[in-house]
C-alpha cells in the first residue's frame, strides 16, 4: 500500500519538528514540576531534598497569593473592559469618513509599537509623577493637590497603562470587523425604521461579536502574564497592592531565590490560566462558530 508508506514517511519527516516543539515545551514544564517538589533555595546551598507538596502549601496559604490572584483577575477584566468599550468607540470614530484618515489611524495604532517597559516608564515619569508629571501640573493649575497615582491607586494606574497599550489592538480588530459589515444590512435596518442607536445596538454590535471574542481571547493570554509594566513602575507595591501572579512568581524565585517555591507558583499559574481559558471558551467560544 503506497498510502501506508507515504504516511509512514510523512510521520518520519515531520518528527524532527514535532520532537523539537515537544522538547521545547515538555522539558521546561517537567523541570518546573520537578523543582516544585524540592526544597531548593539558592541562599541555602546543599541538599535539595524532596518535600512533596510543601511548596504548594506555603504558596497557596501565603496572604500574598490571594492578593495576587485578585489583582491578576482585576487587571485582566479591567483592561478587557477598557479596550473593548474604548476600542469599539474608537473604531466607530475611525470608520467615519474624515480628513486625513490615514494619519489618524497610524496615530491610534502607534502605542502598540511602543515596548511595554518604555511605555510604562513614559507614563510613570512623564504623566503620573507627583512632582514633574503632566497630571501633577494639571492638578496644580486647577489648584488641587497632585495625586500620586502609583502610590495611591497602583493597580488602577497599571490597568490604565496596559489599557493604553492594548487599545490599538482592539481598535484595529474591531475596525476591520466594522468595515466588513454589509452596507445593505445597514440600509435595510434604516428602511425598517431603526435609528442610528438601534442600528448600532441591533446590527453593528452583534456583527462585532466574533471580533470581540478574538480580542478577548488573545488579550487574556497576554494580560495574565503582565510583568514589565509592574516591574518598572510599582515593583508590585505598595505592599502587594499591584502584585499579580507573574510578579509573585518572579519575587519568589529571583528576589527570595526560592526556586522550589517559584516553580510551585508557576505550576499554580498554569493551572489558573487553564481554568480561565476553559471558562472563557465556555462563555464566549460559541461566537467563533460560523
Amino acid at each position: 500500500m503506497a498510502t501506508t508508506h507515504a504516511r509512514a514517511a510523512a510521520r518520519l519527516m515531520i518528527s524532527p519538528s514535532v520532537i523539537l516543539l515537544l522538547g521545547w515545551m515538555l522539558i521546561p514544564l517537567g523541570m518546573t514540576l520537578y523543582f516544585s517538589v524540592l526544597r531548593y533555595n539558592l541562599l541555602m546551598p546543599g541538599d535539595n531534598p524532596f518535600v512533596g507538596i510543601e511548596n504548594y502549601q506555603y504558596f497557596l496559604t501565603d496572604p500574598a497569593f490571594t492578593a495576587a490572584l485578585i489583582n491578576t483577575l482585576a487587571l485582566v477584566v479591567g483592561v478587557l473592559a477598557v479596550t473593548i468599550i474604548g476600542g469599539t468607540l474608537l473604531a466607530l470614530l475611525l470608520d467615519q469618513p474624515m480628513w486625513a484618515t490615514g494619519i489618524w489611524r497610524i496615530l491610534v495604532i502607534a502605542p502598540f509599537f511602543v515596548m511595554p517597559t518604555v511605555s510604562a516608564l513614559v507614563w510613570k515619569n512623564m504623566f503620573m509623577n507627583p512632582v514633574n508629571g503632566l497630571f501633577a501640573h494639571l492638578f496644580k493649575s486647577l489648584g488641587l493637590a497632585p495625586f500620586d497615582f502609583l502610590a495611591q491607586a497602583p493597580l488602577f494606574s497599571i490597568i490604565w497603562i496596559v489599557s493604553w497599550q492594548w487599545l490599538p489592538f482592539a481598535t484595529l480588530i474591531l475596525l476591520t470587523a466594522m468595515q466588513s459589515l454589509d452596507r445593505e444590512q445597514i440600509e435595510a435596518a434604516e428602511m425598517d425604521g431603526a435609528g442610528a442607536l438601534s442600528r448600532f445596538r441591533h446590527i453593528t454590535i452583534p456583527h462585532l461579536g466574533r471580533a470581540a471574542t478574538v480580542v478577548v481571547l488573545i488579550e487574556t493570554i497576554f494580560l495574565l502574564s503582565v510583568f514589565a509594566e509592574i516591574l518598572v513602575t510599582t515593583n508590585g507595591g505598595p505592599g502587594n497592592a499591584s502584585t499579580n501572579l507573574t510578579y509573585l512568581v518572579y519575587a519568589e524565585s529571583l528576589l527570595r531565590f526560592d526556586v522550589g517555591m517559584g516553580s510551585a507558583g508557576g505550576v499554580v499559574a498554569i493551572i489558573l490560566a487553564n481554568i480561565v481559558a476553559i471558562f472563557l471558551m465556555r462563555a464566549i467560544g460559541k461566537n467563533l462558530d460560523a
Partner: protein, 333 residues
Amino acid sequence: MGQITLKKVRKAFGDVEVIPPLDLQINDGEFVVFVGPSGCGKSTLLRLIAGLEDVSSGEIEIDGRPSAELPPAKRGLAMVFQSYALYPHMSVRKNIAFPMKMAKISQDEQNRRIEAAASALNLTEYLDRKPGQLSGGQRQRVAIGRAIVREPAAFLFDEPLSNLDAALRVGMRLEISELHKRLATTMIYVTHDQIEAMTMADKIVVLRAGRIEQVGAPLELYENPRNIFVAGFIGSPRMNFIEGPEAARHNAHTIGIRPEHIDVSATEGDWQGRIGVAEHLGSDTYFHIHDTGLAETVTVRASGEVTLRHGETVFLTPQAEKIHRFDNEGLKQ
C-alpha cells in the same frame, strides 16, 4: 394607497449627473418594472425613491405628500435587497419582527402578522432558523416577509432574483406576481432582465443613462417601441436591424424586424442567406443567417422542428406589416 410621483427628480454624484431631471407617475396598485442595461441608473432611481440616496433636486411625492426630505423609515416603503440583507444573527422570526419592533407594535399584533406572513410564504417551519441555514429561495422569501409585515404603501425590489439559479428564478417570479395580485400594493421592481420585466410588469419603464426611453405596458413596448434602443432591448432574441438600400426601399434609415416575424423557406423568399449556428430548443429553432448582404447576421425563428442544417442556403421573407421603420435619429417613423 401607494401613489408615487417623481417631479423633475435629478441626481448627481459630484460633477457626474447620473439622473437628469426626470418625471414619472406610478399609480396605486401598479407593478412597475425599471429595466435597462447595467449602469443605466435604475437602481439609483429606486434608492432615491427609497430615501437611501438624497435627490440633488426635484420632488418625490408619496400619496401626495412631499417626501424627498423624509428619512427612509418615514416614507412608508419597504425594500427587498439584491443580497436580501437579512440580519445574520437573528432567527427568521426576529428578522421578520424587526421592523415591527422598531415601530413599537404590540407583541400580539407582531405574532399575528408573523404567522400570517410565514404561512403566506411557506416559512412556518423555518421561523426559528438562522438565515445562514436557509437556501437562497427561502432567504428571498424571508426578505419579502420582512417587507410585508410593515404593510407598506409600496414595495421596492432591487434585482431580487439575480442571486438565484434559473429554475428558482422562474418560481420566485411567479410567487412575486401572485403576491402582487393578492396584496394589490404598488410594487416597483428593478431588473436588467427584460424577460422578468415582460412577464411581471403592468408598466415597464425603460431607462438608458438615467433617461426614460419609454414607459408603457409590456406588449405596447414590444409592438410599438419608440426608438431603436427600446426595440433592441425588449424582446428575445434581439430584433434585427437593417440599414442601407433595403431600409431605403422602405423609406427609412433603419428598419427593424423581430426574429419571430420572418418566414423561413428552403426554396423562395425576399432575402437569401446561409445558415450559421442553429439553436434547437424543441419548441422553436433559432437560425443565425449569414451572407444576406443586409446585416452581419440575421436571426430568425422557425416554429417546431425544422430540417434545415448548418451551411445550407435559405430564403427569408419579412412579414411586411411587422417591419419597424426608424429615422436617422433612431426614432420610430
